[in-house]
Amino acid sequence: MNLTRIAASRDAVGGAALLVIGICVAIYALMHYELGSLNRMGPGMVPVLLGALLAILGGVLVGSSFRNNPGFIDFDLRALFAITMGAVAFALLLETFGLAPAVVCTSLATTIFETRLTWRARLCLAAALAAIAVALFPLALGMHISIARWPL
């Protein structure tokens, strides 16, 4: 496994993210939606309250993170990239090229960094998954989706 490591406090990073999200949500809701009164709340009241609460919780997390050792943040950049590419390929290809090409590309994209599989095994896996998907969704479950098409 190849983990990427960053020397930073998980609580500080997470807390800061929540702080920013909370402030943005509260300000956006204040600007766009009516607050109303406690008696008759407008659409903005609950989001503003929650945004403020989230910002406070995030702030407390950041504050308390200074008392502990910062530690490390470990994540698997390759897995992140491979699965993201798989989903992007699926989203872009499905409605233009059909189910089978989308599944083949998704499978190839998700296994792109897979050292445990040979190229041949990857192609076989992609073909097998496409066959399963076609047999299951359009054929067995009757989903309305084209199996393969050429839009150009």
Binding site: R10, A29, V46, V88, T106, S107, L125, L129
Partner: protein
């Protein structure tokens, strides 16, 4: 007898052909998914959620519930044979189950866990049949203030009692509620946080949210980790327990059931904590605690009984009050909401055939599990040898197609990716994902009841404390919060002393 009539009607619903089929499908898939490490009940239920749109709500509930309690059976198989828990609630079974397998007693361990799971599950179901009508009766006079307080209690309890930092869990609940506000405001019709797109008018899709958070994020974080080990063969003859195995298992099974039934009903605790507690109890009451960890049968059957009982009693607060104790239960409530049934005590009154049909399907499902689990062990053994690098592209594919198929919307595919990445970030940063889903599902209900309670009380926040039932619930919530803060303080002090 009212109860008998209900049971009869429920049994008729449960054995109706299609419901029987979906019950079978549910428990079979549950077992399968429980065996495979790396996908839990939550991921499985969110992956199959799209199918339930085409089903009757009763069949949908029966199937998803079957997956839920089926995973508890399958999870122990992987724990015993591989030393890898198929589900978190089976983690503790590894401690004595795997040593038993190494001594060549895997068959006995599997047989006895199946048996104790069945006994515990059955007792859990009986408790549900007895207590649900009582709770519903009490809850009939609740109004919005009580519902709001109960949901707050559920959310706070779920955030504090489960492992990890309370602060992080509560912040995830709040974030989840915020995600729940996306879409049309139910009182004024104003679209919120839709940034001009029509795709967000109805809010974020629960399926995309749950599949991203649990399915996709789980795939990303397991790619490099899950490695299948060596699996032993299990023969029929090796399953026969000795007389001492049986007599040693009876009391631990009953104690495990008691612990599991109690913790199952509490919001936020559930099967995992119950299984750990019952293991600890068995170790304490044992005459010779040193046998634990060396393949003691008590250490296998008690936690399995606890997690199966907890899985059944977890349905009590979910079905009677509409308050899910765990993220999985929240998804089951999602099924009701999708079919236009609002969760709460009225479910049992207005849809008795659904409630009792579900309860009776538990019996049928548990019998099916016992009958299926033992003959299928050979297949599970083979399945455990499939390497994860063949599984994860398949899981990814099923997630993507599943999400797309709900609304036939590419937009939802982008949403699942967004929540997959969010879910992975949350894991990497050490935040719990389950409270996020709980907040998301309960958020809209919470806001609705909050605003209605405020309308009724003319903006007086004291209504939550002044109404007696609501006040008591709020007091309990407050006590739990205080307790968790003190707990965290003392942990902090220990931490600073040791460092």
């Amino acid at each position: 007898m009212d109860l008998l009539a209900n049971i009869e009607a429920g049994l008729l619903t449960a054995i109706a052909g299609y419901n029987l089929f979906y019950c079978f499908l549910g428990v079979f898939l549950g077992m399968l998914i429980g065996v495979v490490p790396g996908i839990g009940a939550l991921a499985a239920i969110s992956m199959l959620f799209p199918i339930t749109y085409h089903l009757e709500p009763t069949s949908a509930l029966i199937m998803l519930a079957g997956i839920f309690y089926g995973t508890a059976y399958g999870g122990s198989t992987a724990a015993i044979l591989l030393n890898v828990p198929g589900t978190p609630s089976s983690a503790i079974v590894c401690l004595d189950g795997y040593p038993m397998a190494k001594q060549g007693r895997a068959g006995v361990a599997l047989f006895m866990t199946t048996l104790s799971s069945f006994v515990a599950g059955s007792i859990g179901i009986v408790l549900m049949m007895i207590f649900s009508p009582l709770i519903v009766n009490a809850a009939r006079h609740f109004n919005s203030a009580e519902y709001f307080s109960l949901m707050i209690l559920g959310l706070i309890a779920a955030s504090t009692i489960s492992s990890g930092s309370t602060l992080k869990a509560i912040s995830m609940v709040v974030l989840g509620i915020l995600f729940g506000t996306v879409g049309m405001d139910m009182y004024t019709g104003v679209p919120r946080f839709n940034f001009g797109t029509l795709d967000l008018m109805d809010g974020l899709s629960l399926v995309a949210f749950a599949m991203g958070l649990f399915g996709m994020a789980e795939v990303i974080s397991s790619i490099g980790i899950v490695q299948p080990g060596e699996v032993r063969k299990v023969s029929w003859r090796s399953m026969l327990p000795t007389r001492s195995d049986v007599s040693r298992s009876i009391l631990p099974t009953l104690r495990g059931t008691a612990i599991g039934s109690f913790f199952g009903t509490l919001p936020g605790t559930g099967a995992t904590i119950a299984s750990f507690m019952s293991y600890a109890l068995e170790k304490r009451v044992a005459k010779d605690p040193s046998r634990f960890g060396q393949g003691a049968i008590e250490g296998v059957v008690a936690p399995e009984a606890a997690n199966n009982a907890a899985d059944q009693t977890a349905f009590i607060p979910t079905m009677t009050l509409g308050i899910p104790g765990s993220a999985t239960m929240a998804l089951l409530l999602g099924v009701l909401i999708v079919h236009g049934i609002s969760p709460g005590p009225l479910v049992m009154v207005q849809h008795p055939e659904m409630f009792w049909g579900l309860v009776m399907s538990f019996w049928i499902g548990n019998v099916m599990l016992v009958v299926l689990n033992i003959p299928l062990i050979g297949i599970w053994v083979r399945l455990l040898q499939v390497p994860y690098h063949y599984l994860y592209p398949a899981i990814t594919m099923f997630i993507l197609i599943g999400v797309y198929s709900v609304n036939r919307s590419i937009f939802d595919v982008w949403i699942v990716l967004f929540f997959g990445l969010t879910g992975y970030a949350i894991r990497v940063l050490g935040f719990p994902a389950a409270p996020l889903l709980l907040g998301f599902v309960l958020g809209p209900l919470l806001e609705e009841h909050f605003r209605r309670a405020m309308l009724l009380s003319q903006g007086d926040l004291m209504t939550f404390v002044e109404r007696p039932v609501s006040g008591v619930i709020m007091a309990i919530t407050f006590l739990i919060l205080i307790w968790s803060v003190r707990q965290a303080r003392s942990k902090d002090r220990e931490g600073s002393l040791s460092s």
